[in-house]
Symmetry: C2
Subunit: 313 residues, 2 copies
């Protein structure tokens, strides 16, 4: 990674959001830019306190903080941040069981992905960049249905039941963490035309002033017809934010221009240029999305800058 | 525990020695004095890197440092010493498998028991009191045979094979740790008469000057015929040590006098007086040994004194 890196401990990115919010898909692009040998991925689902059958027996849901070893998650993220290895617990999503732990060595970048990463102050303090992934709810339900049936051995009815079971805890514990994020990323279907494949989702980034965001001036348009625009707005809580909208149907030429700008803003990482925006569509086929690619690149921008000591803490 | 305790972090006792050296039996008495709610037990076998079948496949034995997560053991002991909980790995001795980890909360006293606790400098630095348990080898083999067949599902032939497999690593990695102990405890059968039950084993404590040992003057005898004597000697490495010999056939009256003295030296713990020296003999029956009781009490003396800040580090 950047040869002139000045921060000699791992840089920690949080990707927090509800189940099937798109966290792993965002993470994949970031890993492909920075290089798989430079990024360690920590999934906080591994810190579930109970197996699936125990959760049912005890009547607790996965997003309930009491159903997770959050103090141990915090301890482990702190240790990784200090450059130390951890013995990471393992939750098997397919079988719903807790398995033998595995050694996880720190790498220059660490992505912590999960439901409750910003639940406590001590946890939040572990991160260099905090992202909350908050897609359109109907979209998330669709993603969850596809993923849990294909990869986690659930039936459609079981996913529906799981969504019902978790709804209250999601609302009570996951959603309130949105307020602690430096960036809120929201994918939503275009309003004007159907997007069965998911390649033309609009991406909206709320940019909070807790991080120095890149100067996007050169590519921003006044009118906003070309798919990439920044506007001042009030967040749902009334607080001021910059809203960056990336249209799902942004022209390839235009997307390329924004990509070029972002790469030019992190010349330290320019040699890492990698294909971005790739995802598996709901038919199980590989696909590509400009708004996803640009989102991945924007998040990586912050990691590279953090490694360069641009927002020293 | 002592109401006037001045050290507000857990006090850590190491009980290191080969498999079936008698570590757990010593620990049991200490736990019964200090109270099970005040002592956490950490068995370093839980930090095995491989399952039994993996060890066979890879051709490594349990006492091989490379077959253990010693860096994680060190990290966990340090965390406990700081009063922090850990998510402890679990090795199932019966099945020879690694299982889901469990939460271990620190307690005022922590006993770390296992094969390789003093293998690295950083590990050794975690302990307040370091004991090496080094019984007569024939006795250890007998104990291992009895324990592994009764509690760990091995056949006699399997235990013999396991002893052979481990012999070289035991010699290379376990025995050299003896030199780092503050106290070396050695149980051996009496020379003059058979001791089938194990209730009359002699106990020899090498007392190194790395800890302030109790003043046993009042009960020591010049002649040494009454079962409890202290003598200056050279250790196997030529270095000077105090050698405390507790005869297996010490008279009950005499053992009681020594016990009384030791309890009087730790008045802070006097209200904790508990039945000591209990063990399960090789016929599976509960039995009692004076030399074991006095050994347990001597080790506890050091823990109580450490909690009172008597050897501030």
């Amino acid at each position: 990674m950047p040869n002139n890196r000045v921060v000699d401990r791992p840089i920690i990115l949080g990707l927090v959001g509800d189940s099937a919010a798109g966290k792993s898909t965002l993470a994949k692009g970031i890993v492909s830019i920075l290089g798989p040998d430079r990024v360690a991925l920590l999934q906080s689902d591994d810190y579930h306190r109970y197996s699936r059958s125990e959760r049912r027996r005890f009547g607790v849901s996965a997003p309930d903080p009491a159903a997770n070893y959050l103090d141990i998650l915090e301890q482990h993220v702190c240790l990784l941040r200090q450059g130390k290895p951890i013995l990471k617990p393992v939750y098997d999503h397919m079988r719903g069981t807790l398995e033998r732990p595995v050694l996880l060595e720190p790498k220059p970048f660490i992505i912590v992905e999960g439901l409750l990463g910003y639940h406590t102050r001590a946890l939040r303090d572990c991160f260099d960049v905090k992202v909350f992934v908050d897609p359109d709810e109907a979209l998330r339900v669709k993603w969850k249905m596809a993923r849990d049936c294909a990869e986690r051995g659930y039936s459609e009815d079981e996913v529906k039941l799981s969504l019902e079971r978790r709804a209250e805890d999601s609302q009570a514990h996951i959603h309130p963490q949105r307020t602690f994020a430096d960036i809120v990323v929201r994918f939503a279907p275009p309003e004007t035309q159907p997007d069965e494949c998911g390649a033309r989702l609009n991406a909206r980034h709320l940019l909070r002033p807790t991080l120095p965001h890149p100067d996007l001036g050169p590519v921003l348009d006044a009118g906003g017809k070309s798919g990439f625009r920044l506007a001042l707005a009030r967040d749902t809580d009334g607080k001021p934010v910059d809203v960056l909208d990336i249209a799902g149907d942004i022209e390839s030429r235009r997307a390329k221009a924004v990509e070029d700008l972002l790469w030019s803003l992190i010349p330290e990482a320019h040699h890492l240029r990698a294909p971005l925006g790739q995802f598996i569509d709901h038919a199980g086929q590989p696909a590509q999305s400009h708004s996803l690619a640009l989102s991945q690149l924007l998040l990586t921008y912050h990691l590279v800058k953090a490694a360069l000591g641009h927002f020293a803490r």
